[in-house]
């Protein structure tokens, strides 16, 4: 018998989230398919997140290079900066930072939007209008988040590396082609593929948690704020947990 209320609440939440995830898989393969809404969500979730992801990725690449340079100069391996930065960004920093920004922007927006729809009876109105609101609102957003985050990670990585190229050229001169040749020569299958695959899981986690929190919002407008906030917090924690698991899996598969 579990005595602690906090543990009970936690286990209850895990159970409900698992049930919500099960409902997603149960519903996403059944017609009627909401293609139009899915495309609209891809635009909202992907395209509208691009400026923020691009800006932060550019600054990340630039700052990482500038911070790394003194240590690399001390060890006399300044020429290896593109290699180090390339591996760090592609393998770890790019996917994780992009996913965290994505959780902040998209997780909160999904949580708040669905939460406000719930408390103002818009979800009920959708059901009365002959629409399966779970499919129309949740399934489309979850799939869009799962598909669009890897795209944003690829673009973010490229922009980060471009920022790094500018950082390298602020204090020395490296040609564009040499920089990119060094980056790509240092990367292998085990650097690119696991990081790309895990970004799908990050996107799925942000989508499912945002929708779960929004869909189960209550207590009026206070509940909407709480849904948005907890969607970001739980998604961010889940991103780190998935990242940790991804490292274990890639090591077990001999991809490290």
């Amino acid at each position: 018998m579990i005595q602690s209320p906090a543990i009970k609440i936690f286990l209850n939440e895990v159970g409900e989230l698992s049930r919500f995830t099960g409902r997603f898989f149960n519903q996403c393969f059944k017609p009627r398919y909401e293609f139009k809404e899915f495309i609209r969500q891809c635009f909202v979730i992907g395209y509208r997140s691009l400026p923020l992801v691009a800006l932060t990725a550019f600054i990340l690449g630039l700052v990482l290079t500038m911070q790394l340079r003194p240590s690399m100069v001390d060890y006399g391996v300044e020429s290896q900066i593109p290699v180090i930065v390339g591996i760090a960004i592609i393998r770890e920093i790019g996917p994780v930072i992009t996913a965290l920004i994505f959780a902040g922007k998209i997780g909160s927006s999904i949580g708040a939007e669905l939460g406000s729809m719930k408390v103002t009876e818009q979800i009920d109105a959708m059901e009365v209008s002959g629409t399966n609101p779970f499919k129309y609102l949740a399934v489309t957003r979850i799939i869009a988040a799962t598909v669009m985050l890897p795209v944003l990670v690829i673009l973010g990585n490229a922009i980060s590396l471009y920022g790094s190229y500018l950082g390298v050229n602020m204090q020395s001169t490296t040609s564009f082609s040499l920089f990119w040749t060094q980056v790509f020569d240092s990367l292998s299958f085990s650097d690119v593929v696991p990081s790309f695959v895990k970004s799908f899981f990050f996107g799925f986690a942000v989508g499912i948690i945002g929708c779960y929190k929004g869909y189960n919002s209550n207590k009026g407008t206070e509940g909407v704020g709480h849904s948005a906030n907890s969607a970001v917090v739980v998604s961010s924690v889940m991103i780190f947990i998935i990242d940790l698991l991804a490292v274990q899996v890639t090591q077990a598969l001999g991809l490290n």
Binding site: M117, Q122, A125, S129
Partner: protein, 258 residues
Amino acid sequence: MIADIKQGAVKENIFSDEKILVIKHLYKAFGNYQVLIDFNLEVSKGESVVVLGKSGSGKSVLIKCIIGLLKPDSGTIEMLGENIGDLDNEELDKIRAKAGFLFQSNALYDSMTVRENLEFPLRRHWIEVSQNEIDLMVTEALEDVGLVHTIDMMPAALSGGMRKRIALARTLILKPDIILYDEPTTGLDPMTGKEIIDLMMGIKKKYNTTSLIISHDMNCVKHAGDRVVILLEGRCYADGTYEALKQHPDLKVKQFFE
């Protein structure tokens, strides 16, 4: 004396014998809290019935059970000849296409314009309908509520009364056989409330729709209903015309009219 107290003659001669809505022994509880206990009601075609009750008496629960948003624990709800509890989602959607529902909070989609709000139920229920037909129906529904000029506006840009009328237009657009109104005048000033009541009565006259109105606004109860049902202690406590119930000797009934 808790019973179905039939008071006064309901204007039976103007309504069809056909029953649009029949509720029998409806029971709904949330945990230990019993909201509806053996609730019974019959609504004839063309009739306008107001369910009057105090806040928290289970009026909204009742109307949500009728439209299938909540599942009753026991009892039957027969609407338009179909037992709501026996229907799967597809069949329920077909019934919902014939039953309009006006939400207390209007429930207009914030991210859509007025036009898109009105188009939404049309596109979902009537997949085959052409864009020209949709445009005509949207314009007609907006003309009915006198708000054609708001067609491209967002709901947030409208006043409370206008939002209620747009919500009514969205309810009307499928030309339902029965309209369920959940507190249609709540949150509106008396003047706007009166406008909404007039609009509801005009719609009833024009389309000969059956109406079930949930309300605790006595002005709405007095003017919008052919018959008034008092929901008290989870049951249909009294049933009759407004004037008859107003003269009723039972103290619990009387308190609603004082």
